[in-house]
Amino acid sequence: MNFPLLAFQNVSAQNPWTYLVFGLIGFAFGFVLEMSGFGNSRKLAAQFYFKDLTVLKVMFTAVITAMTLLFLAVGLGILDYSQVWVNPTYLWPGILGGLIMGVGFIIGGFCPTTSLASASTGKIDGMFFMLGGFVGAFLFGETERFFTYWHNNVSYYGRVTLMDVFGLPAGVIVLMVVLMALFMFWGAEQLERIIGKKDMSHEPRWRLYGAGGIIALALVVLFLGTPTTEAKYRKVTIPRTVTELQADGTVKEIQVRYAAEEALQKRLVQISPAELFKARYDQKLKLTMIDVRSEAQYNLFHLRGALNLPLETLKTHIPELLATAAPNAVYVVMSNDETLATEAWRLLVAEGVPNVYLLEGGLNAWIAFFGANDPQIQPLVGAPAGELHFTFPAALGDRYPAADPDPIEYEHLEFEPKIQLQIKRDKSGGGCG
């Protein structure tokens, strides 16, 4: 079984039990916040006067616990990190919004979820905070239009992790965050002793064992590393809706999951030149064409709008692809024939890039179809496998007519459609927002 479970990606009245699962998660969340003392605004505010650093301790213990277990599961290959919601980075809205939240925190004494724990236990100030929250959310909804471009487009970087920022593997970052948190706990206890005048001599011993335990787990994460591309590839399945003729003569649509290699063998992901051509004009898709050949070959001839990401360097671009993947993104990889493109397809699919296809028959098939009437392009007899089977007068790149065929001339094309959009997650709805 591969986690996270796909069943939880759409919460709606159609599958009411998803409400139950998320309701239970929320229940546990509210329960543990209240029992940690977060229903009391004075306890929360004490954090900012260095007297009682419960907020910091609870929050960072939770962060390092969840983080270490999460990357342990990723390292063991049972959790697909590319399917875990990583809050996309909108740098300046995040910073300004964060500062405003800080002001709200110190004035109001709560944060939104703690105000729930507070209001539900009869704290009147918690109820006022909640009420103010509704007003604040309303005001934001009504004023966002005045800065919607800034809010949605300026300083948007997509899915960026600390691993990308520092260029370090996940295990190293996990260990560093754990050590940083433990150092902060030590500092927090000193502050509580000196400024808060608390007697810290009776703090339980188990917290030291806990610290040792989490360091040990973080070391395991570091040692395990992240699963290899091959290991991930073996677990990938490609969902397809197929129509099946029933015994009573009716046609029924069913969901089938194919192993990645099986999808390749059954040619479910090889799209014809005609389909790619049509996809270029499909407003419902956000198409990215990836040409995985060498730069020299790309310069000789390539489709207009295709990116040149040679197979050798393709892997380094994957975080970028994942970061900017729109829900309706479709990727089509191509090479001269299918050999290199198939390799690229395996790599992208293994790393969790959604909706990847490859050009059937490669650029040779494309040129044979769309370049047949171009006198500049001549067939090259006896060209070795993996090379272009055509000769070109010059390296004109995408300035050959066949690189961008006339949409009117080729308006009516027949092909067997294979692209099926798998929308994994609604970007506007995830992660607390």
């Binding site: 919460v11 229940f27 543990v32 209240e34 939770a62 405003i100 109001g108 944060c111 604040g136």
Partner: protein, 189 residues
């Protein structure tokens, strides 16, 4: 008090349930450990973490959609949640929100901390505290929607999944609060 004439009902009455001596809070590291396990399970099973400010926004949008659906369809931010026949409540955050309310209440009940009161610093009146709590709520949610998540959705969840943006938001929240703390110290001390 007429209730006192029936001592049998007293032990099961409401007052017995709500006016018990408050138990101490759990140790912060233990609370954090349990919270971390809940967060991990949420991420592991569903791929989503924890959050609540999004639900506040969705509940407000739901009400707006009942009153003036055309306005919702003209406002880009609301459109994403409730445009056309979309139901803004069809989101995992909404059950988490109500679950959290119920969970907080249950824990308070068990710990004897359910009590109608105002938590505040010693030198402010109840009214000032309520006004400031309200204002704080307005600001916090405004900022949370701008940053696309609050302390739960960004700092806690985004922190655990190592999102670079979330760590920035986390620093900004604490930065903002610490920067202002000195000037409002009379509120809390």
């Amino acid at each position: 008090m007429t209730v006192s004439s029936k001592p049998a009902s007293k032990s099961f009455g409401w007052s017995a349930l709500f006016n018990r001596p408050a138990k101490p809070y759990v140790h912060p590291y233990l609370g954090g450990l349990i919270l971390g396990l809940v967060l991990f399970l949420a991420l592991f099973l569903t791929g989503n973490g924890l959050g609540s400010s999004g639900a506040t926004s969705r509940l407000v949008t739901f009400v707006q959609d009942q009153i003036d659906p055309a306005h919702v369809d003209r406002t880009p931010y609301l459109l994403k949640m409730a445009g056309g026949d979309k139901n803004p409540l069809d989101d995992w955050l909404v059950p988490v929100f109500f679950g959290a309310l119920l969970g907080g209440f249950t824990s308070g009940l068990i710990g004897g901390r359910v009590k109608l009161e105002t938590t505040k610093g010693p030198h402010v009146s109840d009214r000032t505290r309520w006004l400031l709590a309200f204002l704080g709520g307005v600001l916090f949610l405004y900022g949370a929607r701008m940053a696309r998540g609050c302390t739960s959705g960004q700092a806690l969840t985004g922190g655990a999944v190592l999102s670079a943006g979330s760590w920035t938001v986390m620093l900004a929240i604490f930065g903002g609060a610490y920067a202002l703390a000195y000037f409002v110290r009379k509120l809390w001390n």
